[in-house]
């Protein structure tokens, strides 16, 4: 399963719910969700801990737009929209946590 999250973890609990509900799979952070992938944010430790269960990706365009592409948490892979498409194709289902 590809879990798509588009809100910052300090604004909404979507990422928290995914990490406590989903069995595993891949997490793709898009839009404001990319803030979860920055070094030094209060959610960083939980995201890193989740990397044992999930592969974590963040959309490059959204990181760059917000001026935070220079501080991506180690272990998060940046992808472009083409990579986003590939992630959806490679996973059996995509779930957007709105």
């Amino acid at each position: 399963m590809l879990h798509i999250i588009n809100k910052s973890p300090l604004d909404r609990n979507s990422l928290d719910t995914v990490l406590t509900t989903a069995a595993g799979g891949s997490i793709l952070l898009i839009e404001d969700g990319v803030y979860a992938a920055t070094k030094g944010n209060a959610f960083e430790a939980r995201l890193k801990a989740a990397m044992g269960k999930f592969k974590v990706f963040a959309l490059k365009g959204d990181l760059e737009a917000r001026g935070i592409a220079d501080r991506v948490t180690d272990g998060v892979s940046m992808v472009d929209y083409g990579g986003f498409v590939d992630l959806v194709a490679e996973n059996k289902t995509a779930q957007s946590w709105l």
């Binding site: 399963m1 719910t17 289902t93 995509a94």
Partner: protein, 122 residues
């Protein structure tokens, strides 16, 4: 219609009335049932509030839709799954709910989600 049957799960994480998502997602559920798909609904986080019984909307002059949850069974939609943790965090128990549901842990819900063909959120 090709007669394919897919497992559709509708994930509800938002409270009713503050936004329209709860109501409009129910409308999709009914259509999916009419198309004879394998429909289930998951309620997590504030989505569990949708099932709180006793909606009385006269004071806010918004049409209430509590009874639609009760009517789901008539459409053969009877797989309603509720996250135990979300209920507890909101001080709710099964007795507070307007319809019969299956209450389960997040982990169990997560496993169910992995079995779906299509997961729709609103």
């Amino acid at each position: 219609m090709s007669g394919d049957i897919k497992k559709f799960m509708f994930v509800n994480r938002k409270a009713p009335y503050g936004t329209i998502y709860a109501l409009e997602s129910l409308e999709v559920v009914l259509i999916a049932a009419a198309f004879e798909q394998d429909v289930s609904l998951a309620f997590l986080d504030d989505g569990v509030y949708q099932l709180k019984k006793g909606h009385s909307t006269k004071g806010i002059e918004i049409k209430g839709f509590e009874k639609t949850y009760g009517a789901l069974d008539d459409y053969d939609v009877n797989k309603l799954y509720v996250d135990q943790e979300s209920l507890a965090a909101r001080g709710l128990t099964a007795d507070d709910l307007s319809v019969a549901v299956e209450i389960m842990s997040r982990a169990e819900l997560g496993k169910l989600m992995d079995e779906q063909d299509v997961v729709l959120s609103f």
